[in-house]
């Protein structure tokens, strides 16, 4: 009789475990590789200091009170920024928290951070797609340690469930969001932070006045952000 009770107890526990496990999905991003961009590198030496969570970022969220999602970006952010800036600048020096930037003869120091990570699944958006939004903040310091730019980068990726499974589609959406961030930084980072100008000043070169760039410095990154926000809202 006690054997039967034990069996029933174990059966119930196993069923509960299976049910709970069945309500969650875990996504782990494989190492992100961005293609070599077709651009001319900016002639500057920059320091890149990434926060600790760029090496092991995990986002957990309960969707509609029933599904639990865990998205492990791992070191994808660190890989993205290291590769991207390696392509974008003549020279990149990776710095840890303990390193002193003054010892590396830098034109600028860049400190990226993740401000927000959001996603939606087809049940929420009533579409066939998974979507991921990532908002980074890029802080750029000049050679004197003064902040020259504090720029929000809002990126968006979307992937459909049809051809791939749910976790794979979400993984793809996250990769596309990171590529979107990379594309935006390639297009706008120098306009927003004027890093090539800082480098030219330090070399004693004169930079031609660029009125178009000057006006965009203030307005364009924010305009991009709000435009992306509107897109994100539409998709939802």
């Amino acid at each position: 009789m006690s054997r039967l009770k034990n069996f029933i107890r174990q059966f119930v526990i196993a069923s509960v475990v299976v049910l709970v496990a069945g309500c969650g999905s875990a996504v782990t991003l494989e190492p992100v590789t961005i293609p070599r961009p077709l651009i001319d590198p900016i002639p500057a030496t920059v320091g890149l200091r990434m926060p600790e969570n760029f090496h092991h970022y995990v986002h957990e969220e309960e969707v509609l009170g029933s599904e639990e999602w865990s998205i492990n970006l791992g070191a994808a952010n660190a890989e993205l920024f290291t590769q991207l800036y390696g392509h974008m600048f003549d020279r990149v020096v990776l710095l840890s928290d303990d390193d002193n930037p003054d010892e590396h003869d830098l034109d600028a120091l860049i400190e990226p951070a993740i401000e927000a990570f959001e996603f939606s699944v087809p049940n929420q958006s009533k579409t066939k797609s998974f979507a991921v939004w990532i908002r980074y903040r890029i802080t750029v310091y000049d050679n004197n340690g003064d902040v020259v730019a504090d720029w929000p980068v809002s990126a968006y990726g979307k992937s459909q469930k049809e051809s791939v499974s749910g976790p794979k589609a979400l993984q793809r959406a996250a990769v596309l969001a990171m590529r979107d961030a990379a594309a935006l930084m390639i297009m706008k980072l120098d306009q927003a932070a004027g890093i090539s100008g800082l480098a030219a000043d330090r070399r004693g070169e004169t930079t031609p006045p660029d009125t178009e760039t000057d006006t965009q410095l203030e307005s364009e990154p924010e305009a991009q952000t709000s435009q992306l926000g509107a897109t994100a809202g539409d998709e939802n």
Binding site: P35, L38, I39, K128, S129, Y156, R179, A183, T231
Partner: protein, 225 residues
């Protein structure tokens, strides 16, 4: 007394059903410039950006790619993901040109013109649209017991596949025209013990119809199809 021949009944039901899972299609092309493709030249099939609200399915793009490259009259189709990677970041959803007037600016980026020339990419085909369920109804219930199980009822649904393909000529930096396809298909699921799905392959039909017309549009002089 006539005996019911179940084999005959089933065959009649299947044939009737197959003919009733109907698909209506319409393909229209609109030409703005003359086209043609030389030996060795290739094309790329891409979805318009989802930043613009486009929902074209990845498997639909792959279907069009495969259909265009198949057969004796097949075109050289460069897989869209390889194309996007090789021209990173200029064909990302955020950065891809949305109108032909942006093409000269695109060609000014370092390496873009050279890569397109090296790969001999003559046309970009931009796909816009998707397949949606627009109507449905009926009811179907299934039950199982110790002696067996079965289903009873009838369900139906209608899918619409609307796609537009815009053809850009990268030699002339202009739009060559568009091909649109509008396919509507109704599927049925009657069940008398066993459900018999009579599925209308709406998206597949839209893919084949678009690819056939697109191939003739791009290479009108080729009559080997």
């Amino acid at each position: 007394m006539t005996r019911i021949n179940w084999l005959h009944v089933s065959t009649i039901l299947l044939v009737a059903g197959a003919t009733s899972a109907c698909v209506n299609s319409r393909v229209v092309d609109s030409r703005q410039a003359s086209t043609g493709i030389n030996e060795g030249e290739g094309i790329v099939v891409m979805a318009k950006s989802y930043h613009l609200g486009n929902e074209t399915e990845e498997d639909y793009i792959q279907c069009v790619e495969n259909s265009l490259s198949r057969g004796r009259a097949g075109l050289r189709v460069i897989p869209h993901r390889d194309f996007v990677d090789s021209l990173f970041p200029w064909f990302e959803p955020r950065t891809a040109p949305t109108e032909t007037k942006h093409l000269p600016q695109l060609m000014e980026h370092p390496g873009v013109k050279e890569l397109l020339a090296k790969e001999q990419i003559r046309y970009i085909v931009w796909l816009d649209g998707d397949t949606e369920r627009v109507a449905g109804g009926g009811s179907l219930s299934c039950a199982a017991g110790p002696t067996g199980g079965g289903c009873f009822g009838f369900a139906w649904w209608q899918n619409d596949a609307d796609y537009e393909a815009s053809v850009w000529d990268l030699d002339e930096l202009e739009s060559a025209g568009t091909v649109t396809t509008d396919v509507s298909g109704t599927s049925f699921l009657p069940a008398l013990v066993v459900p018999i799905p009579l599925i209308a392959r709406t998206q597949s039909k839209a893919c084949k119809a678009l690819a056939t017309t697109l191939r003739d549009f791009i290479d009108p002089l080729d009559d080997s199809a």
